[in-house]
Point group: C2
Chain length 224, copies 2
DNA sequence: GTATTTTTCGAACGAACGTTCGACTCGAAT
DNA sequence: ATTCGAGTCGAACGTTCGTTCGAAAAATAC
């Protein structure tokens, strides 16, 4: 047996990933309700009934996509946050991580942002829970900033959810041909937010933070 | 004839409004693709075929809803802006107008925010055009602020679209039982944005603007 | 080689979809 | 009294939907 299939377990997993990748694209293009299993069959090359060997329902398929994306974002974020204590820096890392994932996986994010309400209660709850955990991370960073006196009087829930609004809206307008790349975009959003909630007097000014192994990016340039 | 139906023209218009109202609710609850004409028939009490006397297709129905909502927002905004010259004040009015409409007509706004890509090209273009006009209004206010030197170096397109992100995301999280009412919420969002893009040194500080005939609201209170 | 398990799929299920059509009602105009 | 057009609807059109099932094929174990 010189050729194919070294081992079933690996192959089955690989095929599931293949299906998830193409299903993500189809959902992002036509929406969850607008996309049919037949569309996904066509896109993956797997027969209609063959798909059901890998997931038991269309809902479960959406659930698998969403959970996978969230876990990826959270895992990467936790790795990047390790060892960083300053809450502003931590929030900047969260924004960079979010926006970077967004622009690197636009289809996943489109599905994540739009198709949440179609999950029903076994799945819905689990996705809601992981989303809540993500929000609470940002909220904790913000509360630490407040405790350190670096934030003016502002409703913290509204502030943090507005930050998510800025970040999550990006998929509606970002055009790679004219808009800044992830790192620069993240810096701009973080600057607007942090300055927007900052205590006027105590301000240490904007302080972009480099993450990963890249050099610090140039500061935001006015364009257009 | 003491009772009903003074005139057909009026009645037909009233019935169309009745249909649009209930269709908006159905779309906002189940999504455009998830809602069936039969759902709308059930919700309005009008028979399946009877509906088609008032609109020629499901698409057209969505189009009517979206156009109506946009025109309402724009009309109200233009009335409120009349006579106000200061660009910060104008932007604050835009935010208040937007958020107020949002919270007063949550279903319309949900449909507006989510179901844009389902329109096809006769309708799509027209809705996109009115949306562009709305964006350009905000963009022009922002550019005036820049010209007056009150904005730091920041990509204006990114800044303005981030403001829309904050505003448009509200429908995903706003809970009337725990979150601020429209006017207060609008003030917080406008503060975050205006401080977020403000020139550090030239700051005249936050200056909430009362609109309509209400007294100026108290400043944002930290909660939670 | 045979037995067993894992993977694949064609064909079909009943249900629901958007839309159409012809017939009906009924008040207004003649 | 009749004509007319606006408004209404039951029934049905053809299509597509998510899902199932039994059998074939491929891979693995014996």
């Amino acid at each position: 047996m010189p050729k194919t299939a070294p081992n079933n377990h690996h192959d089955a997993q690989a095929k599931l990933r293949h299906i998830l990748r193409h299903a993500t694209r189809v959902f992002s293009e036509k929406g969850y309700e607008g996309a049919s299993i037949r569309d996904i069959s066509r896109a993956t090359g797997v027969s209609l009934s063959g798909l059901y060997y890998y997931f038991e329902s269309k809902q479960k398929l959406l659930y698998l996509i969403q959970i996978h994306a969230f876990k990826s974002i959270l895992k990467r974020l936790e790795r990047r946050l390790a060892g960083v204590a300053n809450p502003e820096e931590r929030l900047r890392i969260l924004v960079t991580n979010h926006v970077e994932y967004f622009l690197r996986h636009p289809m996943e994010m489109k599905v994540l942002a739009r198709e949440e309400e179609f999950l029903e209660d076994p799945y819905r709850r689990e996705v809601a829970e992981i989303k809540r955990r993500y929000y609470e991370m940002a909220r904790r960073m913000f509360d630490e900033m407040r405790r350190a006196g670096r934030v003016r009087r502002v409703n913290p829930r509204v502030a943090v959810l507005s930050l998510f609004g800025m970040m999550n809206w990006v998929y509606k307008w970002h055009n790679p041909r004219v808009d800044p790349r992830a790192e620069h975009l993240a810096e701009t959003l973080a600057n607007i937010f942090l300055e927007g909630v900052a205590n006027g007097h105590a301000g240490r000014g904007l302080r972009p933070v480099a993450i990963g192994r890249r050099a610090p990016s140039e500061s935001a340039r006015a364009a257009g």
